[in-house]
Symmetry: C2
DNA sequence: ACTCAATTGTGAACTCGTGCACGAACGGGC
DNA sequence: GCCCGTTCGTGCACGAGTTCACAATTGAGT
């Protein structure tokens, strides 16, 4: 039987970069399962993902031993194990702030699949949008953020408002008790050190790509 | 006068991570200018951005000398210099593929500001959307991608289609001549080595954050 | 003109993550 | 039961990027 000792809170110093690769592994393993493939070698998985096999083995070794020598990894069990490490085996309550076109896209995103994330509240400052129902969730005024987030025990906030209001929104989300933020606003948020923030920055990605492109054409 | 010798194609080995920080600097410098602040020290800038002052100085030193000892950096000139390094001082033609809610959000994003990026073509596979006009751009069938991208000399593609079609879309965009891709699809694209790809992965960001969160509440 | 506080640019040290390479383990075939 | 090809897990070395720390420069004040 495959080792199941998943040591989460005990191994203290696992690089964040490793953690950020785990979702990629989960995805690839799910795709393999969908193709009825029950076993992969680190070599094959590496090729699919575009990293080295050594890196995959090293990454996994932070958490335990999941493979069988001479055979590889069981796609189902490894996926389950990583999902458990990432705590994807439970449902997280998410607040979405900002229901412009970006917020709309976030709310309607169907890539969550059999997802670990539930949008439990949506907020917008525009009174005309307040009251509208989206998938059974009623859009509320931005003035309710802290109270509602606390009431619903929401753990994660998604900030999809213009840069000018993003800091303010972050503040009230944190006041309400979230410990993690995804922000689409192109500013650096000022947050207490115990708050986790991930910036989604497509414009920055664009702007950094043009460095490499040839000017003339 | 501040050194203006911006050596782009000559310094060969500037780490990509440095390049990816440059847009952040540009943003911060623009915000400072908007606040009528003409000069910043690396210390102050570092505090605003949330990195170390040494890192900023080191990053800039890859490209030249932009500061004045005892004084700091001129916000206007430094911003101009970095924008030039990133080639933001010209307009880039972008193709957007997929006009679902995500594509809609991308097309309507107003954070481009006085932007270096122009959405010159939009494609969707849904015949009902084809023909619709968005900001003067007519949505075209996905079957035209390669031809139109080539005709319009488009350099950058944004992939906002479901994971299942993303690889196919990437292929035709590259066939049409783009050298850079932004993709929102949660799959690893297979592309030739000379093609630049940046993945925007909010779901991955979420999934990696939950690793750190406390389960109970 | 001189002093002094501020601040840059960079050599050197350090840290952290990656990749190599190999011993150990597994399992199929004979 | 033994051999052999495959693949894992990991010690070790390497390398990329970060931070330290300081000489050099600047300009304001006296």
């Amino acid at each position: 039987m495959i080792e199941r000792t998943v040591s989460r809170n005990f191994e203290p110093d696992i690089p964040d970069i490793v953690i950020r690769r785990l979702p990629i592994y989960v995805r690839a393993l799910r795709a393999l399962q969908a193709s009825e493939i029950g076993t992969v070698s680190s070599d094959r998985l590496a090729e699919l993902i575009g990293v080295t096999a050594a890196q995959i083995r090293r990454d996994l070794s932070y958490f335990g031993k999941f493979g069988k020598q001479g055979k590889g990894y069981d796609t189902f069990h490894l996926e389950q194990a990583i999902a458990q490490i990432l705590q994807l085996d439970r449902e997280w309550q998410v607040a979405l702030v900002g229901f412009g076109s970006l917020g709309h896209a976030v709310a309607h995103y169907r890539g969550f699949g059999p997802s670990s994330f539930h949008i439990a509240a949506i907020f917008d400052r525009n009174p005309e949008k307040v009251g509208r129902q989206i998938d059974g969730v009623t859009i509320m005024s931005d003035r309710c953020i802290a109270a509602e987030v606390a009431r619903l025990r929401i753990q994660i906030g998604i900030i999809a408002v213009p840069a000018a209001s993003a800091q303010e929104v972050a503040d009230v989300l944190i006041e309400g008790g979230v410990h993690a933020l995804i922000t689409y606003a192109p500013i650096v948020l000022k947050t207490p050190p115990n708050i986790l923030v991930r910036e989604i920055d497509p414009i920055g990605a664009l702007q950094s790509m043009t460095y490499y492109l040839e000017s003339e054409q």
